[in-house]
């Protein structure tokens, strides 16, 4: 075959194609997101004897998709940060390595619910890096005007207080913001009521159980009694303005809002807001234990080196540095004292709430199930269907989504 100029050019073109894989150097490849990715270099600099690390920052909005695409393409890194709700899915597909026995002692003294999220079928698959949860940010001045030093911790008293706060705020206002498209609020109430959400093996929905019905009824009543506006998160133009205005006096959110409150609310509002744990039917309510964990991926070239770095990142002093750099809450209780988080009333409330956290079902399909749940819950809240029909519809959809999992578990048995 004559080697025409064309053939040579094509051959040359093939060279970069063949070596198209990213240049894998000797450093550990670490994928991180958000503020943690930005501050990771500084954090690593503070660790003595840290290995060489090549950091790839991912935006939170694309991180989950990107992890799965990389899994499909066999291009996962050595280690990385993951949202702790993804751990069950990553375990199910075999993308991450279990935590070595030597490191499991790191979890002593950490918030139990958070550690539980990292434990899949009894095995520890990841280690918590930082924790968060949701609680209520409230307008202290409006509550005081209504005669309350802090929001009551039982549902009935809390709802009565909300009515009085709404009256104190003036006409045209509400008491609490619960965006109708966000599932976190109903889930928090369900956990507070003791709902298990799915059956023991995670193969069928348990949304028809009395606890979830109770939670859904309570959730619906907040809209029915006009304590919360029937609006989605995109319809509230500027949450900070509205909170300052008194449009709502309670704003459920996480630790990331502390910084926002301090920077976006005017100075005269700074002593008018505070945090408190959620209420429950019989006392302080539960919430979901959120946060990120550190994992080592299946194809890591040197898992031992990666786990060694994980251990260093989770040392109490490094947890303290992370807290100072990003404001993230550390998973180890002892560190809270050292960083003054227990002393500050704003953050102390998070500690209390985390003590009352309960983990969610750890099935890979959970994210999809909860999204369906909220769709039906919105219909219930808007009066388009009854609670009874609603919970049975959620069960029906959850069962359908879990069908494959049932089949796989039956096969394994």
């Amino acid at each position: 075959m004559r080697f025409s100029r064309r053939t040579v050019v094509t051959g040359l073109a093939a060279v970069p194609l063949a070596s198209a894989c990213s240049t894998r150097s000797d450093s550990l490849e670490f994928w991180a997101m958000g503020a943690e990715a930005e501050n990771l270099p500084a954090l690593l600099a503070s660790i003595a004897g840290a290995p060489k690390v090549s950091i790839q920052p991912l935006p939170w909005s694309a991180a989950h998709e990107k992890l799965l695409t990389s899994f499909a393409g066999n291009s996962l890194p050595d280690m990385g940060q993951v949202g702790n709700s993804w751990i069950s899915e990553l375990t199910a597909i075999g993308a991450i390595l279990p935590v070595p026995a030597a490191l499991s002692s790191i979890t002593t003294g950490q918030f139990p619910a958070v550690v539980d999220t990292n434990r899949i079928e009894g095995r520890l698959m990841a280690l918590p890096w930082y924790v968060d949860t949701r609680l209520q940010y409230y307008r202290r001045d409006l509550f005081e005007r209504a005669g309350f030093a802090a929001p009551p911790q039982r549902w009935d008293a809390w709802k009565a207080a909300l009515h009085m706060v709404k009256a104190a705020a003036g006409p045209g206002n509400y008491a609490i913001l619960l965006p109708i498209n966000e599932f976190e609020h109903l889930i928090g109430m369900a956990l507070s009521a003791g709902a298990s959400l799915l059956n023991q093996s995670g193969t069928r929905g348990a949304f028809s159980a009395p606890e979830f019905r109770q939670a859904l009824a309570f959730y619906k009543s907040l809209y029915d009694e006009r304590l919360a506006p029937l609006a989605s998160s995109t319809q509230i133009s500027n949450v900070w303005n509205e909170f300052a205005r008194g449009y709502f006096a309670v704003y459920p959110s996480g630790p990331w809002t502390i910084g926002d409150m301090k920077s976006r609310l005017p100075p005269e509002m700074q002593d008018k807001w505070a945090t408190a744990p959620f209420p429950g039917p019989r006392g302080t309510g539960a919430s979901t234990p959120g946060g990120s964990s550190l994992v080592v991926y299946r194809n890591a070239r040197e898992p031992a080196a990666a786990w060694a770095l994980v251990a260093k990142l989770l040392a109490p002093s490094t947890q303290q540095s992370l807290q100072q750099l990003t404001g993230d809450l550390p998973p180890t209780r002892a560190v809270w004292g050292a960083t003054g988080l227990n002393a500050d009333p704003i953050t102390a409330a998070f500690g209390v709430q985390l003590d009352h956290a309960r983990s969610l079902p750890k099935v890979p399909e959970w994210e999809r199930i909860v999204s369906e749940m909220q769709g039906v819950a919105e219909q219930v809240a808007r009066g388009m269907t009854t609670i009874d029909r609603g919970v049975r519809e959620i069960d029906r959809r959850a069962d359908r989504l879990l069908e494959k999992r049932r089949w796989m578990l039956e096969r394994r048995a």
Binding site: E65, F71, Q235, S237, K404, M408
Partner: protein, 298 residues
């Protein structure tokens, strides 16, 4: 001697078409057929990890889609894009072509280039620009509307205006290409006919309706078919500008397929969506051609 030449020519013919045909077969035909097969399985993240977890489920993907309210929402949104978008784009591009074709127009090449420019630009980049143009408070569009006394519209935040807003962007971006096609067609319209019509006293509109339009009818059909296919395949615009919101009002069929396949990793279900999409485009193309034949245009 002759036979050898014929055989050599035939061999060369196959040799020259082979690379392209192999590529088309391997990277287009085979995946398209595989899509059909995949749509009858429940390929998901478990199967991605281990092929043992794959099952054939017959038409289950299709029946589940047909009972999925979000799928119907995506179909409705896409049909709105088609019903509103195709006439809009055809009229805009035909109008632009008529303008650029007009005899008394000066600096013709300049206008042709400027009107075609949006088509050349990267969609993601211009989607980002339009995101800001449509901003409720700081966007130029609301600012301009303010001069006509119209209150600021929350274009991308309001479920009823998000789709028209994206449609406006799509029309801006794509009318240039159709304009060129119409220009080519207009250049073939017999000048004598229009001149004769003018001499007979026919005004510009009459000349257009009775001389020009019938002459370019096949092109109108072609542009219609291309635009319909294009409207069915909108993806990047909702992905960049609205992520399918607000309230799922801008989820298109292709966006739904992308989420099904690459967010939830239900590749089997995603393939079923792709196949349904193909059938829709095919069906509407057939309908368009039938209507055109019936009306005598082609």
């Amino acid at each position: 001697m002759r036979e050898a030449a014929v055989r050599a020519e035939a061999r060369a013919g196959w040799a020259m078409t082979a690379p392209a045909l192999i590529a088309i077969g391997l990277f287009f035909v085979f995946p398209a057929l595989a899509s059909l097969v995949l749509s009858f399985t429940d390929f998901d993240i478990y199967a991605l990890a281990n092929l043992d977890n794959l099952r054939f489920i017959g038409f289950d993907n299709y029946s589940r889609l047909l009972t999925n309210p979000l799928f119907w929402q995506a179909m409705r949104n896409t049909l709105w894009f088609v019903v509103l978008g195709v006439p809009l784009i055809v009229i805009l591009s035909l109008g632009a072509a008529l303008l650029v074709h007009a005899k008394t127009l000066k600096w013709r090449p300049l206008w042709r280039v400027l009107l075609f420019a949006p088509f050349v630009t990267t969609l993601v980049a211009t989607a980002v620009v339009w995101n800001y143009l449509l901003h409720t408070r700081y966007g130029l569009i609301n600012y301009g509307l303010g001069f006509f006394g119209i209150a600021p519209v929350d274009w991308l935040g309001n479920p009823s205006t998000a789709l028209p807003a994206i449609l406006l962007f799509v029309a801006w971006k794509s009318f240039g290409y159709n304009m060129i096609i119409f220009l080519a067609a207009l250049q073939t319209v017999n000048q004598d006919l229009t001149d004769a019509a003018r001499v007979d006293g026919a005004g510009a509109w009459m000349r257009f309706r009775h001389v020009t339009l019938p002459a370019i009818a096949p092109t109108v059909l072609l542009v219609g078919i291309l635009t319909v296919a294009g409207m069915f395949q909108l993806f990047a615009e909702p992905y960049v500008m609205t992520q399918g919101g607000p309230a799922k009002s801008t989820v298109t069929v292709l966006y739904f397929m992308f989420e099904e396949g690459f967010k939830w990793w239900n590749l089997g279900s995603g393939a079923a969506v792709a196949f349904i999409l193909f059938l829709c485009i095919f069906a509407t193309t057939l309908v368009q051609m039938k209507l055109a034949r019936r009306s005598g245009a082609i």
